[in-house]
């Protein structure tokens, strides 16, 4: 295969094993980061939050196997997360107290197995169709499962759910898994394994055919593949990983509840995945981290955090359909050619009026909220440490001006930044 290589051809892909470091470097770095995180963020809250993020990363990535990789929009993914969690909880309760030698860190396998089994069952039904019909079937299945969960009170534990005690398992290496930090490392290890496995799947013939199905399902049939089989496999595998995530959630919270497989949870995973970016493998990871963080923390800052959330989501759908990861990926060519410093000032230029516009908008929102909902507290309020009276016209005028001027300047600056960006790209193309 030694043709004369044309100078103009970018180096072709090779089928040789790349060096150890190139293949595993990123995973080693990830492992080191995961190991070190609890030393940086050591409070109980931080560790709990990171545990939740870990399970959500697996969940969101598994969802992206459908949405981002195969182009399937499902409204019922939490079903697998929840069922995986419940079966894990039951398995642990069955083993608890007995002398059965199954250590805690193997139990997520039960969750994964459950997710896979139900993925196969529901996948056989739903993947016969694609597009809107598929979305509607998943919606129907999700409703059926969450309704059954309330009817099957003994299995799903009714309203209070199933509780478990992770410390009742046989102890290996002296790990009781009582302290949250030990659970953190358990989740970190499983998260790393699952992420690596899901990444590996994207690099297989099956993974690439999934992408082809996403892009053009009709064409795939003419290159020999059954699109229904591809969808079915993707659905089952994503059920497997969602189940692992659910199992870890059960271990982490030591409680499984039917709300965990409801519409809300399915909606949350859509938000995470999309905000993070469906076109990029790392997107859902970023999304899971950011959205989990916002869900937990934003509510401390404002009572109407869901409004900001909805606006953020709509903004992403409209202006950044590739998500946060997509925005970052746009900078990659600049970084490679060391052009970023030409564009970065424009970003800052756009960021400042953008922040002004947002503070104007959120001022309007918060003042409306103060007057409409928190009437009991009176019109006196504090915004950004500045106390004022929401009844007087002045803050309203300021807010509107901030918003209008900020938006106007932002749009102008954004255009400049866009120009700078394309210019920087153009420089790259010059010899």
């Amino acid at each position: 295969m030694s043709q004369k290589t044309d100078m103009k051809i970018p180096a072709l892909p090779s089928d040789k094993r790349s060096s150890f470091l190139a293949r595993f470097g990123i995973w080693i770095v990830a492992a080191i980061v995961l190991a070190g995180l609890p030393y940086v963020f050591s409070s109980g809250l931080a560790v709990s939050t990171m545990c939740m993020m870990g399970t959500m990363i697996i969940f969101a990535l598994s969802y992206n196997m459908l949405l981002g990789q195969t182009g399937l929009l499902s409204f019922g993914h939490a079903v697998f997360f929840g069922l995986g969690g419940f079966l894990t909880a039951w398995a642990m309760n069955a083993v608890a107290g007995t002398s059965s030698p199954v250590p805690l860190f193997l139990f997520p396998i039960m969750g994964g197995f459950t997710g896979l089994v139900f993925g196969i069952i529901f996948g056989a039904v739903s993947t016969k169709r694609s597009g809107t019909a598929f979305a509607m079937i998943t919606l129907g299945i999700a409703e059926l499962v969450s309704s059954s969960a309330l009817i099957l009170r003994h299995f799903f534990g009714g309203e209070e759910g199933i509780t478990l005690d992770r410390t009742d398992m046989v102890q290996v290496l002296g790990l009781s898994f009582g302290p949250q930090i030990q659970v953190y490392y358990l989740i970190a290890v499983w998260c790393l394994i699952s992420v690596a496995a899901m990444y590996a799947i994207t690099c297989t013939p099956f993974g690439r055919i999934c992408n082809a199905v996403r892009d053009n399902p009709e064409r795939v049939r003419f290159i020999g593949y059954n699109t229904q089989t591809v969808r079915f496999m993707a659905f089952s595998l994503s059920g497997l990983f969602a189940g692992i995530g659910g199992g870890l959630a059960a271990i982490n919270f030591e409680i499984m509840n039917s709300a965990q497989m409801g519409v809300g949870e399915s909606g949350a995973v859509i938000l995470m995945t999309y905000i993070g970016g469906i076109g990029n493998f790392a997107g859902p990871i970023i999304g899971a981290i950011v959205v989990t963080y916002l869900q937990l923390m934003l509510s401390d800052v404002t009572d109407v955090w869901q409004l900001y959330f909805g606006l953020l989501f709509i903004g992403m759908v409209m202006y950044a359909p590739r998500g946060l990861a997509g925005l970052l990926a746009l900078q990659q060519p600049l970084l490679q050619t060391r052009q970023l410093h030409h564009v970065a000032p424009y970003y800052i230029l756009a960021l400042l009026p953008g922040l002004v516009a947002i503070s104007g908008l959120s001022m309007v929102i918060e003042m409306t909220y103060q007057l409409a909902v928190k009437t009991a507290a009176g019109p006196a309020m504090v915004f950004f440490y500045i106390p004022f009276n929401a009844n007087s016209p002045l803050p309203w005028i300021i807010a509107v001006i901030l918003f209008a001027v900020g938006t106007w300047l932002f749009l102008r600056a954004a255009r400049l930044a866009g120009d700078a960006y394309s210019q920087a790209l153009a420089w790259r193309k010059l010899p």
Binding site: P205, D215, N216, R219, I223, Y225, N226, T229, M233
Partner: protein
């Protein structure tokens, strides 16, 4: 794929029919295409040429008649099964995987025939056979320089070439090309003719084409489709001379 002349034709259509509601689009076509032949289907717009391709490749279910590929009945079976039997096709309207790179496009099309199927345990980058085959095809269709571009951003003529690449990637022995020259400039057409000539060596080729120069240049035999019926099927010279063809279709266009 050595082409030993066998009495079994590569493709045999017998009494093939297709109706949409009351409309009969294809009205009983009988046609044999021997292995290794380059066969062109011509005919006026609305004659049912693309419908015929859809029937052969499994996109549509025939209303009547049968399709045989190397003697095996493939009537009405799904497209992927037909593709696996070695019949591959391109589309009149560009029909690629726009977000995937040129390289990925072609490689996806090679995978089934190389036996990798739905494998989700092997790293696709390390499949030497797929890599090799993909590179071969990209050199053959002259897109090697563009290998890492998303297919969606290619120039039109390049996308048409990639269409051909997808069609031949599975190493199919029977190739259906639906208007490969549509919308191309003169120079681009010449390249495409050379490409088709090259890829149809050792293959059976059935193509739809409007450009008569191309048709008479490439085809061993030509079938004329008018209102869902084959009114003539013969060598280019005889077709040119055929009075009913001239009357029904070619008119004075043929020089």
């Amino acid at each position: 794929m050595t082409q030993t002349k066998t009495p079994v034709p590569a493709l045999r259509l017998s009494g093939l029919e297709k109706s949409f509601g009351p409309m009969k689009i294809i009205r009983g076509i009988d046609l044999d295409i021997p292995a290794g032949e380059r066969h062109a289907v011509i005919g006026p717009n609305g004659a049912g040429k693309s419908t015929l391709f859809h029937l052969i490749s499994g996109h549509y279910q025939p209303s009547g008649g049968s399709v045989r590929l190397h003697g095996d009945d493939i009537t009405g079976i799904p497209p992927q099964l037909i593709a696996r039997r070695g019949l591959s096709r391109s589309f009149q309207v560009t029909n690629l995987f726009p977000q995937l790179t040129v390289w990925e496009n072609v490689r996806c099309a090679t995978l089934w025939a190389l036996g990798h199927k739905y494998s989700f345990w092997r790293n696709v980058e390390r499949l030497a056979d797929a890599r090799q085959r993909t590179e071969e095809i990209l050199r053959e269709i002259n897109l090697i320089e563009r290998w890492n571009m998303p297919a969606g951003v290619l120039a039109y003529a390049e996308q048409r070439a990639l269409e051909i690449g997808l069609a031949i990637a599975s190493n199919a022995n029977t190739l259906l090309l639906d208007e490969p020259m549509a919308g191309m400039s003169h120079g681009e057409t010449e390249h495409m003719v050379e490409l088709i000539r090259k890829v149809s060596e050792n293959r059976t080729l059935l193509m739809i084409e409007h450009d008569m120069g191309v048709v008479f240049d490439l085809a061993d035999r030509i079938s004329v489709l008018v209102y869902g019926e084959v009114i003539a099927s013969d060598t280019p010279e005889r077709i040119k001379a055929n009075a009913s063809v001239q009357q029904a279709y070619l008119g004075t266009e043929v020089a």
